[in-house]
Amino acid sequence: MHIFAFYVLALLTVASALVVVTHRNPVVAAVALAFNLISIAGFYILLGAQFIGLLQVIVYAGAIMVLILFVIMLLNLAEEVGPHSAGTFQRVLAPAATLVFAVVLGRALWRTAPSSFPPPSEGFGTAASLGRELFTRYYYPFEVISLLLIVAMVGAVLLAKRKLT
């Protein structure tokens, strides 16, 4: 059952990622990205991290994707047209280099990782266990990241507010 769900999710994730990478229409790519993010949330829940999985759906597939789609539609972006100005060199070299990178990375991960999961620890992935860690051991990083969010928010408002000269 688990392994079947895993393969279905893997297929959906890779297919939607391919659409994001290859499609020229940004709206289609954004919808495919939302699909991709929801399938990754499926992986999180399958691996037992249910709180992170729900956060993924709410924060990523909800908030961030709405923001991206809103900007695409606000700017009324058309499809990317014409050849890449960097020419065919980049078009051929980029996928080839990335393929080499993927093979090396995949091989390294395959050889170093163990072949089976240990049984999940007590309360793994619950909001209670994460919240306890977040507000005790990771209290200062938590405060810093909230500061970062405020800075990003102020910066976004300032940047998008008025016409730059």
Binding site: H2, I3, A10, T13, V14, A17, V20, V21, A29, L37, I40, F43, L46, L47, A49, I52, L55, Q56, V59, Y60, I64, L67, I68, V71, L74, L75, L77, E80, H84, Q90, R91, P95, T98, F101, A102, L105, G106, L109, W110, A113, P114, S115, S116, F117, P118, G125, S129, L130, E133, L134, P141, I145, L148, L149, A152, G155, A156, L158, L159, A160
Partner: protein, 100 residues
């Protein structure tokens, strides 16, 4: 039960797909979306390691990466809007003001 190596290899494949998208796309928003793809691939690897180690640490890192991605999306899209107002395009090949 699922093989953790398969999940890790899948996250590597997703990361590579995001990377090739960043290299090939010209629209700034398409590049931002491919960066989100790469961040998610890293998150998937983090969750797999969290499940292997059984602790909450790696999940906290995923939480921070998600917050960072939200901040990055907000600031990045604001920059795209400002650029579009200034230059009338989001094509990163056209935006070469700082290029020597």
């Amino acid at each position: 039960m699922i093989d953790p190596r398969l999940v890790l290899v899948l996250s590597g494949v997703l990361f590579a797909l995001g990377a090739v998208g960043v290299l090939l796309h010209r629209g700034a928003i398409s590049i931002l979306m491919c960066i989100e793809l790469m961040l998610n691939a890293a998150n998937l690897a983090f969750i797999t390691f969290a499940r292997l180690r059984g602790g909450a640490e790696a999940q906290i890192y995923v939480f921070f990466v998600m917050t960072l991605a939200a901040a990055e999306a907000a600031a990045g899209l604001a920059i795209v809007i400002a650029l579009f107002r200034l230059r009338g395009t989001t094509d990163v090949d056209e935006i070469n003001l700082l290029k020597w």
